[in-house]
């Protein structure tokens, strides 16, 4: 199945979908016939409010549940056991202490920054 990642918009046009795929400095407009898999950039669309009819009807709707049995997958090929990658170790970060923390009047502090930048030839 084709995949289209980083989508920011999706429109149906006849029997095709037109998707806008966002990249770093550009976007692509792509045409594709279903079925396809699209992933959407988070925070891209605002969910609408629930409507009253939906709230009233929620009791009567039977939500279909898909479980492991339905999927007919091999247990060894999914989840932690099925993952080809393993966690070897974990650690938290150490910060080194070779730092200057300075409290000075603003004008002097500004001069100090300028002086440091110039000493190190950044400017």
């Amino acid at each position: 199945m084709p995949q289209i990642t980083y989508c920011v918009s999706l429109e149906l046009n006849g029997d095709e979908f037109v998707l806008r795929r966002q990249q770093e400095d550009r976007y692509q407009l792509l045409r594709v016939k279903p079925p396809f898999l699209a992933t959407v950039i988070s925070g891209n669309s605002q969910p609408r409010y629930m409507n009253v009819k939906g709230i009233v009807n929620q009791e009567n709707i039977d939500v279909q549940k898909i479980t492991f049995e339905h999927l007919q997958l091999e247990a060894a090929s999914i989840g932690l056991k099925g993952s080809p990658t393993k966690v070897k170790t974990t650690f938290t970060k150490q910060h080194n202490s070779d730092r200057d923390l300075i409290e000075l009047p603003v004008a002097e502090a500004a001069n100090l920054i300028a002086q440091k930048l110039s000493e190190k030839h950044y400017i």
């Binding site: 976007y27 016939k33 966690v87 409290e103 502090a109 400017i123």
Partner: protein
């Protein structure tokens, strides 16, 4: 089976992206331990003449595919080409850039090759047996995990731009450029490109900046002044997530876990408290100056020079001080 280390290079409009050279630098370091070759894979249309450049940055062999099907990045076309090359050469390690292209391509390849993929690695190490230790941040940067891929090959990883260092370009370096032909299964090309549009506003690339001035919540009302100040010293502005979420800064300027990773010569953080997610994106900068009025702010833990002050108040003084310094340099 070769034990080579492959780098899947990235190009846009037939120009190789800097991140590819950074990946070659990382691959070269790994190859020094495993004593194997570094091979670059370059896909595109009208890119053959760029292949030599990859050798100068550390590739021993460059596999070039020159095909009009690869003119623009499309998942299926690029996946087929990359797959055929990896299948033929059976590398031990494959590195991708963690860009919108690499993050699209690498998972597809890991499924096709039935192997593992570790995304957004910040450190790569290898032992003599060729086992790759891939370290990446987990749980918002509070914890680091080192991942291995023991039973499947190749071992694959994506690395963000700005995390690895490229080698100095060596124009005398020798290597081999091999042109490869791919047999495409065009029946599988089901996604069609209507158009690709470059957005001008995105051209200011904070990953390339030498000096970055980062703005946080503490200076949200002074962005205009800061921008003027930045351009007066040849710097670019960037931002913490707080200002992006509230719409004060565009997404492309966000530094951190969910934004970009930057490594400028100088990083000046104004009014940024320094949540771990932000630090993860900037702490490798050469020289970090933090200005914040909260003495306990975590940004001071990574700053080389920390000033406890109101960033807004210091700004006009800093501007003046820099002008004076420049004047002194010129008169000397």
């Amino acid at each position: 089976m070769s034990k080579d280390i492959f780098v899947i290079c990235e190009q846009r409009d037939s120009i190789i992206k800097d991140v590819s050279f950074q990946l070659l630098g990382a691959a070269k370091k790994l190859a020094e331990v495993t004593k194997n070759q570094v091979c670059a894979v370059l896909l595109g249309s009208g890119i053959k003449n760029q292949a030599e450049k990859l050798i100068g940055y550390g590739a021993d062999v460059v596999y070039v595919v020159e095909d009009k099907n690869l003119r623009y990045y499309l998942t299926e076309q690029y996946a087929q080409a990359t797959y055929q090359i990896i299948k033929e050469h059976q590398p031990e390690i494959v590195l991708y850039a963690a860009t919108s292209i690499g993050r699209d391509l690498a998972p597809r390849l890991s499924a096709m090759l039935k192997t593992g993929l570790t995304a957004d690695c910040t450190k790569l190490e290898v032992d003599e047996k060729g086992v790759l230790y891939m370290t990446r941040p987990a749980f918002g940067g509070n914890l680091f995990a080192t991942i291995i891929c023991p039973d499947h090959r190749p071992q694959m990883s994506t690395v963000r731009e700005g995390v690895m260092k490229k080698q100095e370009y060596d124009k005398n370096r020798r290597g081999e450029v091999k042109e490869v032909k791919i047999k495409f299964d065009t029946a599988k090309f089901r996604v069609n490109l209507v158009k690709e549009v470059i957005e001008e506003t995105h051209k200011e690339n904070i990953e390339d900046a030498e000096i970055l001035i980062a703005c946080g919540r503490g200076v949200k009302d002074d962005l205009k002044n800061i921008k003027e100040f930045a351009s007066s010293i040849g710097a670019l502005t960037c931002s913490s997530r707080a200002l992006v979420d509230t719409g004060f800064m565009p997404t492309q300027k966000q530094v951190g876990q969910t934004g970009k990773t930057v490594r400028p010569s100088v990083y000046i953080a104004l009014g940024i408290s320094g949540a771990v997610q932000h630090l993860a994106g900037m702490e490798e900068s050469d020289y970090i100056i933090a200005i914040n009025n909260d003495k306990e702010a975590p940004i001071f833990k990574v700053a080389h020079l920390g000033i406890v002050a109101d960033a807004k108040e210091i700004l006009p003084h800093l501007k003046e001080a820099l002008i004076n310094i420049k004047r002194n340099i010129q008169s000397n």
